[in-house]
């Protein structure tokens, strides 16, 4: 059997915005808007550089039905470029870009195969006149696809390497929407050699027998852990109709990274600032060559807590740090600075004082212990957020904190204010 390699990518989410990123500097905003499209260009370059026989895209190429024309035309041009070099492309649509979505692309370029949704299509790939592989795949007809599509796949009698292309949630990962849910056993039953999956944005090797791979998305999209770090595609080397090697190659141009600074031992703002700069510089060195969106967390107890609780203290520090890297190439944008520091107060001591603050802590402790009462209180307090136009928007917020987290921060805030001047 002929040896070859192919590239497996998924979840390109072309021309879609970064989520959870507030206003950024104009040049950073431009870079973010272009990031997914530049990742596509890098993916094409990777495919050509590796001499891949074909490229497999396992769904969610666009972000939604409202996908822009720009993204589609960019994709078309990219695939045209591959076709010009004799590289074929296999596309299976996913929940974000089902087949029923409108398309600005009238006809796909030469060498592109888009799998239909009615049944699993199997396309033979010959290299140099020799049967090398069969690519099986199926697209989502519509977004809400809860059918176990993996069950439709079967190896067939064709010789060579068999690849399944599917957008699915293997093992019903609760962190992700349960589209086309299936189990590893379902995949094994199809007796394919390699499952090119999409949907889970965190790169993930599900199995090596057979190979079941999530390459993750080609460009991180939010500060969420699954979207952080290096993003790219998998280069699959096939020898003797078996996987010889699977390599990850980054394609992202902008990277989301997280950093953490413990304020313990930092006596003043200058020391805190220096520690933050050091942390960010370390991240910059670690992810050299890419624009960085950095989220920094301040943790621990220390004198800096009181400073940070000052009006606009965190915002001013954030602005100052952003100025530090302004104009850097590639850019480093401090996305946010989260103050999760704790007051140096000894809460048990406060509780023993028996004063107002002690009463307040007792009340908070009670709410911590009584979930029902806590939920009722928070619902009551949130009531203004559920009136008028706020209701819909607030309901859409994905990153809502847990009640306990809100309680913890509220308790700290109240104590800080009551105890101000005591430190």
């Amino acid at each position: 059997m002929i040896d070859f390699c192919f590239v497996h990518a998924a979840d390109l989410h072309l021309d879609t915005p970064f989520e959870g990123v507030a206003k950024a500097a104009p040049e950073v905003g431009d870079a973010l808007r272009e990031a997914s499209l530049e990742a596509l260009d890098r993916l094409v370059a990777l495919t050509l550089d590796e001499g891949a026989a074909f490229l497999v895209l396992a769904g969610d190429i666009y972000d939604g039905a409202e996908r822009g024309v720009r993204a589609q035309l960019r994709l078309r041009r990219a695939l045209e470029r591959l076709g010009e070099h004799g590289v074929r492309t296999f596309i299976a649509h996913g929940n974000h870009d089902p087949l029923t979505g409108w398309s600005a692309i009238g006809a796909w370029p030469e060498g592109v195969h888009v799998f239909g949704s009615r049944w699993v299509e199997s396309v033979a790939v010959e290299i140099g006149g020799e049967m090398a592989a069969t690519v099986h795949g199926v697209s989502y007809a519509r977004r809400e696809t809860s059918e176990n599509l993996a069950l439709r796949f079967a190896r067939g009698e064709a010789p060579g390497f068999h690849i399944g292309v599917l957008h699915a949630n293997v093992g019903s990962d609760p962190e992700h929407a349960a589209y086309a849910p299936c189990s590893l056993a379902d995949l094994r039953a199809a007796r394919l050699d390699y499952w090119a999956l999409g949907h889970i944005h965190r790169r993930h090797e599900v199995s090596r027998d057979p190979w079941v791979m999530y390459p993750g998305d080609t460009q991180g999209r939010s500060p969420k852990p699954a979207e952080s770090g290096a993003k790219g595609a998998l280069v699959v080397e096939v020898a003797g109709a078996a996987v010889r090697e699977v390599r990850f190659v980054p394609t992202d141009t902008v990277r989301f990274v997280h950093g953490e600074v413990d304020v313990g031992g930092l006596d003043d703002l200058a020391a805190l600032r220096a520690a933050l700069l050091e942390t960010a510089d370390a991240l910059r060195a670690e992810h050299a060559g890419r624009g960085l969106l950095v989220r920094l967390r301040l943790r621990g107890r220390g004198p800096a807590h009181a400073v940070l609780r000052g009006p606009r203290a965190v915002d001013d520090l954030l602005d100052d740090l952003r100025d530090e890297w302004r104009g850097a190439t590639p850019f480093l944008w401090l996305e946010s600075l989260r103050d999760e520091t704790l007051s140096p107060l000894d809460l048990d001591e406060v509780r023993r004082r028996g004063d107002f603050s002690a009463e307040l802590l007792a009340l908070a402790d009670g709410l911590r212990a009584d979930g029902e009462r806590r939920t009722a209180l928070l619902r009551e307090l949130d009531e203004p957020l559920h009136r008028g136009r706020a209701a819909r928007w607030v309901a859409e917020l994905e990153g809502a904190e847990s009640e306990l987290a809100v309680l913890r921060r509220a308790e700290a805030r109240a104590l800080d204010l009551l105890e101000q001047g005591q430190a």
Partner: protein, 931 residues
């Protein structure tokens, strides 16, 4: 310095009030802070005022009106909690009696003593601790139990006005004020914190349409979402845009085709209209051509060449005539110059002269040579003449001088001098005789001097005259000088020296001398003088004679030299004349050798040669003009011959024609040929244009037919109709093109547009901001709720103790008329007082005095509660008992005495009876200090 002095029996600490169970908890508070005293540096009317001797328990500060009680109270408030800002309505108490604005308050906590210094113009107060070290603000805050100025004024340090001011508040307000002021955390007022959070919450969210961060974000989100929906809608319409563009292009293409057809039809009409006239002219030309004979091309070429050469021919003929005139003029010039050359000179002789051997320069050289010789001859003659004239002049002068020499010559000068000498001696002798005869002759020495001088002058003049430079005058002068010298010497001698031989000898001598002088023997003085004059004249004549004689001798020498010069000039003149003659002879030979007329001078020869040149040039001009005229004549004859031949070949009779007739005939023949060519060209061009406009053979045939039978007016009408149709089609086409362009632009904009991505990014950005804002809102909402709920719980649980204490005190003060202060369960914001009859009354039903007693009791309760929670602060009041009747005043005094066990109580009053009441209530233990 005005100091406060202690009055009454201050024994420190308050005594226990008599009668009844204790109103307040008798256990000592954990911390007690009291005033030891204060010193006013400058504050209002107070200046350098010290107050001391305050008891740990009850102290009465007694002062008359205007003693400054209220000022002291305010001083304490400001010193402890800071001066109010200038911008507030509170009085500032600027010093009016001098001193620095501020002062000192001394506080005691147990045995520890603190001095608090505060001045208006200092930024911060200074707190000196027990060890003398400066303590920080937080120590002061701790000393004051973290109370603030408002709380202190409301509960701990108040005057009658503050007490009464509660009556003006609503009941809810009273309660709220008291309780909120009394409820604190370990640091700031919980209600203040709650208010602060509320403010922050208002900045985050205000109603559903207010101006706050979340409201703004929501508005922006709505806007962006709407824009995004529109952008997505636009993007979704991409296919429609593509189809729209295609349709617009098809319409534009169809209109373009129709327009092109119309333009073709119109162009045909235009072409027919334009061809029509030319086509018919071509037909007429064909008819005319048929009537004209054809001329051979060669003949036509000859005729055209002849016609084209007409201008040249006429110019040549004109030129020929001009040349002929020039030849005639040259002939006349030849005749004239031959005459100038002289008789016998003919054209042949002139031509024979070799121009190369006759040069004007040679003649001019001859001219210069002859002139030089003539000049030399003339110069020699002039020199000879001048020499002769000089010689004659010298001869004449010589003769004149020689003729002036006297004959015989005057006596020689020696002879004259001898006679003069004789005369002198005669005079001397005569003088000696006289002297002998007449003694007393004078001094002769001066006369001798003068005679010597005259003699010297005579020598000088003589020498001058001898050199010939002084002329006759000098000679005369010399002679005169000699005479004078002699005379003087004679006189001197005569005077001076008597004759040696005596008078006889003298006389002899005198006679001898007279004789020798030709004088009588006894000459008189007159004779002597006359002789002297004569001798003087002879001397002069001889001197002149000598001078003239020497001049004559000089003239002889000069004359000899002049004669020699004259001879030399004569020789030179002869030589110049011979030279001149020789040159003239050579010149003559020169002319003769060259055939020049012998009579010609050099100037005449130059002019003659010029005439010879002119003659030769005229001969050449004439010959050249004659040759040219002959050549032009030949050419004219050749043209005429050719013209006759060509005209004959063209069928025109020309044999009998003269030159002018020939020219006209040639011109006419060419015009006829041109006309024929023009007609042929018209026919050809008409055909070419037709074929160019209508290349297709069939179409050309139809056009010929249309041109033959068509009507141009009909075509023009059709043209106008076509124009109208084309204009309409163009408008439609432009519209279609615009629509196509718009469709294309919309499609391309869609293809380029990042609007969806941008709006999504903005939407996500706003969502992230909203997320943050909501998280902050939730945190603050819950923080506020925690504080508010704790506050309520705090009040709910702590209030009973406050109300119980206040109720007990109030019951004591009212002698049991009221037994308790209650908080109705149905209202957290209301208070009631329970009468002895068991009926609860609202505060509004109480009299002013009773209400003030209640408010004071409530303050005592709160102060005691504050002491239980934090610090027992000094309780200071200013004449708050004035509205109480004596019984109740005494009862209140007793309550205050009891309260003073746990907290310091300071009462300002101007009423001695109040002081007495308090003193009595304390059984004399209260300290009374007079201000």
């Amino acid at each position: 310095m005005t100091g406060a002095r202690e009055a009454g029996g201050s024994r420190g600490g308050a005594g226990r009030a008599a009668g009844g169970a204790p109103v307040f908890d008798t256990s000592a508070p954990a911390r007690v802070v009291r005033l030891e005293g204060w010193w006013v540096d400058g504050f209002g009317a107070l200046r350098d005022f010290e107050v001391g001797g305050l008891a740990p328990g009850l102290t009465v500060l007694l002062g008359a009106n205007e003693a400054g009680k209220s000022t002291h109270l305010t001083f304490l408030r400001y010193l402890l909690f800071g001066f109010p800002k200038r911008t507030t309505a509170l009085p500032q108490y600027d010093p009016v009696a001098g001193g620095r604005h501020g002062g000192r308050v001394t506080l005691l906590e147990g045995e520890e003593r603190y001095e608090l210094w505060r001045y208006r113009d200092d930024k911060v107060a200074r707190l000196i601790g027990p060890g003398g070290d400066e303590a920080g603000e937080h120590v002061l805050a701790s000393l004051l139990g973290h109370a603030d100025a408002g709380l202190f004024r409301s509960v701990f340090a108040f005057g009658l006005s503050e007490l009464q001011s509660f009556a003006t508040l609503t009941e809810e307000g009273v309660r709220q004020h008291i309780f909120s002021a009394g409820v604190v955390g370990a640091g700031r007022s919980a209600r203040e914190v709650s208010r602060q959070i509320g403010k922050q919450l208002d900045e985050l969210l205000k109603g559903t349409r207010g101006k706050a961060l979340i409201n703004d974000l929501l508005r922006d989100l709505e806007l962006r979402r709407a824009e995004l929906a529109a952008a997505v809608g636009e993007a979704a319409a991409y296919g429609e845009r593509v189809a729209e563009e295609r349709r617009a292009l098809e319409v534009a293409e169809e209109l373009r085709r129709r327009s092109a057809d119309e333009r073709l039809a119109r162009a045909r009409l235009v072409a027919l209209g334009e061809l029509w006239r030319r086509w018919h002219e071509a037909r007429a030309a064909e008819v005319e051509l048929e009537a004209q004979p054809a001329v051979a091309a060669e003949t036509l070429t000859t005729l055209r060449a002849l016609a084209e050469g007409l201008g040249v021919r006429r110019e040549r003929l004109q030129r020929r005539d001009e040349i002929r005139r020039a030849a005639e003029q040259a002939g006349r010039a030849v005749s004239t110059t031959l005459d100038e050359l002289g008789p016998g000179w003919a054209e042949a002789q002139v031509r024979a002269v070799d121009p190369s051997i006759v040069g004007r320069d040679d003649v001019r050289r001859w001219q210069r040579r002859l002139s030089a010789c003539a000049e030399a001859d003339a110069e020699a003659r002039r020199a000879e003449t001048a020499a002769a004239q000089r010689t004659a002049e010298l001869e004449s002068e010589h003769e004149q001088r020689a003729s002036r020499l006297p004959e015989p010559p005057p006596a020689p000068l020696a002879e004259v001098e001898a006679r003069e000498d004789l005369l002198v001696r005669l005079r001397e002798v005569r003088a000696a005789e006289c002297a002998a005869a007449a003694p007393g002759a004078g001094s002769r020495r001066p006369l001798l001097g003068a005679a010597a001088a005259a003699a010297a002058l005579a020598v000088v003049f003589t020498l001058v005259g001898a050199t010939g430079t002084g002329g006759v005058g000098m000679w005369l002068a010399a002679a005169l000088a000699v005479a004078v010298a002699v005379a003087l010497a004679g006189v001197a001698w005569g005077r001076a020296r008597p004759f040696a031989g005596g008078p006889g000898a003298a006389r002899e001598r005198s006679e001898d001398l007279a004789r020798r002088l030709g004088l009588p023997s006894a000459p008189s003085a007159t004779d002597l003088d006359a002789l002297e004059v004569r001798l003087r004249a002879e001397r002069t004549a001889r001197i002149e004679y000598e001078g003239l004689r020497r001049r004559v001798e000089d003239d002889d020498v000069a004359l000899g030299r002049a004669q020699t010069a004259l001879d030399q000039r004569r020789a030179e003149r002869a030589e110049a004349a011979a030279q001149l003659a020789e040159v003239h002879e050579e010149w003559r030979r020169f002319k003769s050798e060259r055939g020049f007329p012998a009579t010609l001078s050099t100037e005449g020869t130059v002019e003659w040669l010029a005439a010879l040149d002119r003659c030769r040039e005229a001969l050449e001009r004439r010959a050249e003009a004659s040759a040219q005229a002959a050549q032009l004549e030949d050419e004219a004859r050749e043209w005429e011959a050719t013209a006759r031949d060509a005209l004959a070949a063209a069928g025109r009779e020309a044999a009998h024609l003269e030159a002018a007739g020939l020219e006209q005939a040639v011109t006419e023949a060419c015009a006829a040929a041109d006309r024929r060519a023009e007609l042929e060209r018209r026919v050809l061009e008409a055909e070419q244009e037709l074929r160019a406009r209508f290349p297709a053979a069939d179409d050309a045939a139809r056009v010929r037919h249309d041109l033959a039978v068509g009507d141009p007016e009909v075509w023009v009408a059709g043209l106008h109709e076509a124009d109208a149709r084309i204009a309409e089609l163009e408008r439609e086409q432009e519209q279609a093109i615009r629509e196509h362009e718009n469709a294309r632009r919309r499609r391309e904009e869609l293809e380029r547009s990042a609007d969806v991505a941008r709006l999504q990014a903005e939407l996500e950005g706003l969502r992230a901001e909203l997320d943050d804002a909501v998280a902050r809102y939730r945190e603050l909402r819950l923080a506020q709720a925690l504080i508010d709920r704790t506050l309520r719980e705090f009040m709910r649980t702590r209030q009973p103790a406050v109300l119980a204490a206040a109720g007990a005190a109030f019951g004591r003060v009212t002698a049991g008329r009221y037994t308790a202060v209650l908080q109705p369960e149905e209202s957290e914001d209301d208070l009631r007082v329970l009468g002895a009859d068991g009926i609860a009354k609202t505060l509004a039903t109480l009299s002013r005095g009773t209400a003030e007693q209640l408010y004071l009791c409530l303050r005592l309760g709160l102060a005691r509660e504050f002491a239980a929670q934090s610090v027992a602060l000094p309780f200071v009041m200013d004449d708050c008992l004035v509205d109480f009747d004596p019984e109740r005043a005494a009862a209140m005094a007793a309550v205050l005495v009891e309260f003073a066990v746990g907290s310091q109580v300071v009462v300002f009053t101007c009423h001695p009876e109040t002081a007495a009441t308090l003193l009595e209530a304390s059984m004399g233990e209260a300290a009374v200090v007079e201000l």
